[in-house]
Symmetry: C2
Subunit: 219 residues, 2 copies
DNA sequence: TCACTTATTTTGATTAGTCAAAATCATTAT
DNA sequence: ATAATGATTTTGACTAATCAAAATAAGTGA
């Protein structure tokens, strides 16, 4: 059985590879995990010995198929738990990430399965992140973000790519949760600004960094 | 923050002191925790340093008020989780003990509170064990067992003092879950047998050890 | 090519929890 | 009172995960 530390390394590697394909450098992994670089090196060597990652000294590391499988399992637990906490226990979506961070390591397959059934085999968590299947398949609807989608076209927000509670609360306040329909009215690269119009809400301006965190899909 | 190992030691000490008041010997604690006696000694010394137990070398240990407080907190989590798993996720009551054993260390006060609310502030878990309040109070309804209660008097089963899945499944099959009304028809000390009659069920015989595990209360 | 910067790896230590086995202590039985 | 028995404690060692700081490698600039 993988310890929860191992599960966290694998999960982080998976997310990082998803965001930036290719080898993950030790320094990068260390900062994601909140440890010093030497610790990451030691850990990755151990993971390599278990066949969960490939390790190229002084270059970087990446998940093996076995490692990815395990990472997806963890991610499935994490995301199902998040949705469960929101839907069944009425927690706020801005706080469930932290809670799930602990529960994802403690929950058995049996309990997870019940949760999955209770929720009706959902496809995405409260942030719009896809929930991997028990077999380890994930559906990435390759979307644009508010920072690069078409102007004036109504789009549906499908995903919020930032788990921070304060950002999520901000999104909440602006009425920009996943599912909401928005249109981008204009972009001003000089001002680093995107003018958007959420359905039934007031027009507002987002900086490009914030806009890029809101993934959208055409309707 | 107490590690889950520490939480388990405290929980086990509490349960043992409840069953057999007085100091708990190292050998006893070790066997309850499934470790070697030397390990228990080392651990108890550390717990004593943290002010969670009193330790009398070569005699035994017992919880301090602080230790008991923490133990009750763990027990509250354990039992609320058990009930939640049965009521909300439809797990079998014979399997929830194992599941709760892990979850009790991962669940936050906030989530626990939601569960408590969702279940309507229940007083007992699926085995009839009382759920300590958030403040750490427990209601022990001091009851008799089927091994020593009055004959012929209808009694309500209030508690099953054995968490083992196979025993619980047996109890289930005989229709002897908490809440059931039963009468003891006779006892034969020589044969070590108790003849009981569960309401709407067939008469059956239990050995004294098994009968003692079924706590009952007068109606 | 040589020095400099920066990331990575190595080394030595630390903490929590554990075991095996030797040493110690406290009781019982003779 | 002494020896035997049995529990307890101590000692030394191990694993997982970590950090601090020194050593090493790789790439960059001059």
């Amino acid at each position: 059985m993988a310890t929860s530390t191992v599960e966290n390394y694998l999960k982080q590697l998976y997310l990082e590879q998803q965001a930036t394909p290719g080898l993950v450098a030790m320094g990068r992994l260390a900062s994601l995990m909140g440890v010093v670089p030497g610790t990451a090196t030691t850990m990755v060597k151990a993971l390599a010995d278990s066949g969960l990652v490939n390790y190229e000294p002084r270059t970087g590391t990446q998940l093996t198929p076995a490692g990815q499988q395990l990472a997806l399992h963890v991610l499935r637990r994490h995301r199902l738990v998040e949705l469960f906490l929101v839907k069944v226990l009425n927690l706020d979506w801005s706080e469930v990430h932290e809670e799930a961070e602990e529960l994802e390591h403690a929950i058995s397959d049996k309990v997870l399965d019940r949760i999955d059934t209770l929720l009706g085999h959902p496809a995405a968590d409260p942030h719009g992140d896809p929930i991997p299947s028990a077999a380890g398949d994930v559906q990435y609807s390759q979307t644009h973000s508010l920072a690069d989608c078409e102007l004036h076209q109504p789009m549906r927000i499908s995903r919020v790519v930032d788990q921070g509670a304060s950002f999520l609360q901000f999104i909440e306040r602006c009425g920009l949760r996943p599912g909401t329909i928005v249109r981008v009215l204009s972009r001003d690269p000089q001002a680093d600004a995107t003018l958007i119009h959420p359905e039934n809400r007031e027009v507002l301006t987002l900086g490009t960094t914030a806009a890029a965190k809101l993934r959208v899909e055409t309707i």
